[in-house]
């Protein structure tokens, strides 16, 4: 059993798929795993794959052309999750997909398809939730800064919504756990960047800044509640406690 491993970035995962396919070892004899690998198994050979832009582009192009853009989106979203088996699931899905190119996204009764669909749905739901709960802080010079701590890697799925919503504002969304940020200067395209440790440290302090509108929002939030209908467990069903970490109305 050969296990192909790669970094947890999309480009590396696509290269891994390319190399695993091209190795001609037989699809039953290989498995794919994105890092972190965790406990290693006995009697398995581990082969790390290095990312290669050309190979990744070839894989992406062939998914988009031979399968469909829906299938590509399913694969991309599944790749953004943090499940340990996501890469192997994508690999099996693509194998099946090249056999049934136009039907694959509808064949939800097939275990390979439903495995990828489940992860892709989780990632999409989480990205929709963060679109709702992201809270920006206005710095004195007018830049808006937001911190998020998502479970899956949803930053690339999240920032296009804000591109459309605030095209003429300067804003930054920072993923604290992965130290990456999406930066949007006013009226320009958004770009992604990795943050160094002390940049992250400096930016963490934005959440301690006060603002009259924060107090107004908190008071609005408390006054809009009808006390005769108070229901904390209903509120918790909609807003689990881990969402509230960076939401202004729940901080102190």
């Amino acid at each position: 059993m050969t296990i192909y491993t790669c970094e947890n970035t999309f480009e590396a995962m696509m290269t891994c798929i390319y190399d695993a396919w091209a190795s001609k070892e037989g699809h039953q004899n290989i498995r794919l795993k994105a890092e972190p690998v965790g406990d290693m198994e006995l009697f398995c050979e581990y082969r790390p794959i290095h990312p290669d832009a050309e190979k990744a582009k070839k894989v992406i192009r062939s998914i988009q052309r031979k399968l469909s853009s829906t299938a590509y989106l399913m694969v991309y979203r599944c790749a953004m999750s943090e499940h340990p088996d996501k890469l192997d699931r994508i690999y099996r899905f693509l194998l099946l997909g090249f056999a049934y190119p136009d039907k694959i996204t509808d064949m939800l009764q097939h275990p390979y398809v439903s495995a990828v669909f489940e992860l892709s749905r989780n990632v999409m739901n989480e990205s929709h939730i963060f679109r709702e709960i992201v809270r920006f802080q206005a710095l004195p010079d007018g830049v808006l800064v937001a911190h998020i701590e998502p479970k899956a890697n949803i930053l690339t799925l999240l920032y296009p919504c804000f591109d459309d919503r605030m095209p003429s504002e300067n804003w930054i969304i920072i993923d604290d756990t992965r130290s990456i940020a999406a930066i949007h200067p006013a009226d320009q395209d958004t770009y992604l960047t990795a943050l160094t440790a002390d940049e992250l440290e400096r930016l963490k302090h934005t959440e301690d800044m006060t603002d009259p509108f924060i107090d107004m929002w908190k008071s609005f939030f408390h006054h809009i509640e009808i006390t005769e209908r108070k229901n904390p467990s209903c509120q918790r069903t909609h807003l689990p406690l881990w969402y509230r970490k960076h939401m202004t109305e729940f901080l102190d």
């Binding site: 009764q109 439903s114 920006f136 206005a138 804000f162 509108f213 209903c234």
Partner: protein, 472 residues
């Protein structure tokens, strides 16, 4: 009174006017898709975005405020009625604009929900509202969602001007029957509510026809697969030709409607009814709801459980718990009308006018019509699949697409989103049921309600069905 107003800070005004607005439950940002523009702030998403959830469990998506709570009317159920002694405040249009823009930038809200008490007179109030919206759209370039409430007795020309600035307009029906309305809110006559509703409906559909869309609002796409939903039987009242009577027939419809670059209330109309203040049955309320969808082409009808705030001989006493479960059943029934192809007469009848509190309306219907079950998932059509408890719009469409490509099993339909805990009593898969059961109404009812014994005890206890035995 003017001195009192200017002494209040923005935060104090916000507290007073959001406190007064909270009983208006219509607060979604749904119904229209609009992309953002450079130079403007905001966009709109048809699904509706819920930015937060208040302590009572309701979603917060818009900045829900009143322009003023200084009311000259005296409706018995309202906290802001003129007889009540409470703090009064009025926002200036600039203050509302500042709040909306700053909250929107921080991603707290999707837009503005603006209602008002009748301040001085209906015309003055609507003019203030118009100034707020006009500033927001034109000076501050706000491109997000605006839901505005019309006041009863509102003048027609102002409603028209405001409709071009708002995304959704609504006027509250308050009470389902004319008798109820005249008893509790005598200054709001039924015609003062229905006339603006009719005018707005005619304008909305006139504008839609002028730009080449259908006359009635878009509904959920599943409705086109349902042969007999409430929308197929809809009575379309108010042809656009009724409008052009007073206009030059050679003029193009866009000239008639002015503002060719702005749509007229693209997210449609909605309304709200109070549940539990007067003695209407669920059947009367649901029939009114269906009539509103069919005759006035409303997008949504909202229900607000009555919460006693004022002492009055005609209203339930202060301290009466609000009828939350009844409100919940009405919302479930409302969804059945709009998405699942049910009619009000199928769910309730005059001899059974109120909902079963222990079971939701869909399960209740299924148990009364067991001759239609079990449904074979591999062969049933969309409308029959939608009638199975536990199968909703998404799962039904996934089943339809997947079953052409291979056999289904209970495990695979569970992964597609079917709630097997409820559906297993009503469906077969490849001819077999999930567990061997008798298709018997009492047996299935016990199974469906047994899982939540504690909840059922609480429901039964609140109605007085079960009482503590007194042995001495």
């Amino acid at each position: 009174m003017e001195l009192y107003n200017t002494a209040l800070s923005l935060q104090e005004k916000l507290e007073i006017l959001s406190d007064a607005a909270k009983y208006d439950v219509a607060c979604t940002s749904s119904g229209v898709d609009r992309r953002g523009k450079k130079g403007s702030l905001g966009n709109s998403c048809a699904a509706g975005i819920c930015h937060s959830f208040a302590g009572d469990g309701r979603c917060i998506s818009l900045l829900k405020i009143l322009q003023s709570n200084d009311c000259i009317y005296n409706c018995k159920y309202c906290l802001s009625r003129s007889d009540n002694d409470c703090r009064r405040a009025t926002f200036t249009p600039e203050e509302i604009c500042t709040l909306v823009i700053e909250f929107y930038k921080r991603n707290y809200i999707e837009g503005l929900f603006l209602s008002s008490a009748v301040y001085k007179n209906p015309i003055h109030t609507m003019e203030l509202i118009y100034q707020t919206l006009s500033l927001l759209r034109n000076k501050y370039h706000f491109n997000g969602y605006i839901h505005v409430k019309a006041i009863p007795h509102a003048p027609d020309e102002l409603l028209e001007q405001i409709g071009y600035l708002a995304d959704r307009m609504s006027i509250n029906l308050e009470l389902p029957t004319a008798e109820g309305l005249s008893a509790l809110a005598p200054q709001k006559t039924r015609s003062s509510i229905l006339t603006p509703m009719r005018r707005m409906q005619q304008r909305i559909s006139g504008y839609r026809l002028a730009i080449g869309k259908s006359a009635t609002m878009e509904r959920h796409q599943g409705n086109k697969y349902l042969a007999h939903s409430i929308f197929t039987d809809a009575v379309y009242i108010g042809d656009a030709s009724a409008h052009t009577n007073s206009c030059n027939s050679a003029a193009s419809p866009l000239d008639v409607y002015g503002h060719p670059d702005r749509p007229f209330a693209p997210a449609g109309q909605s309304t709200q009814m109070i549940i539990g203040a007067t003695g209407e049955t669920d059947f009367e309320i649901l029939s009114t709801t269906q009539a509103l969808y069919q005759n006035f082409d409303l997008k949504r009808v909202f229900y607000s459980a009555y919460i006693p705030l004022n002492e009055d001989a005609m209203l339930p006493a202060i301290g009466t718990p609000p009828p939350l479960l009844r409100e919940h059943r009405l919302y479930q029934a409302d969804w059945l009308l709009r998405y699942y192809g049910f009619h009000a007469s199928e769910l309730l009848t005059p001899d059974r006018p109120n909902f079963n509190l222990a079971l939701d309306p869909k399960c209740d219907w299924a148990l009364r019509h067991l001759e239609q079950f079990p449904v074979e998932v591999a062969r049933a059509d969309y409308s029959m699949l939608m009638r199975v408890p536990g199968i909703g719009t998404k799962s039904a469409l996934r089943i339809l697409k997947a079953r052409r490509l291979g056999p289904l099993s209970f495990d695979s339909i569970r992964k597609m989103g079917v709630v097997l805990k409820r559906a297993q009593y009503f469906i077969t898969c490849n001819g077999k049921m999930h567990i061997p059961i008798r298709l018997d109404e009492n047996f299935i009812t016990r199974q469906l309600t047994a899982t939540d014994a504690r909840k059922n005890y609480m429901i039964a206890g609140s109605d007085g069905i079960y009482e503590q035995l007194s042995l001495f």
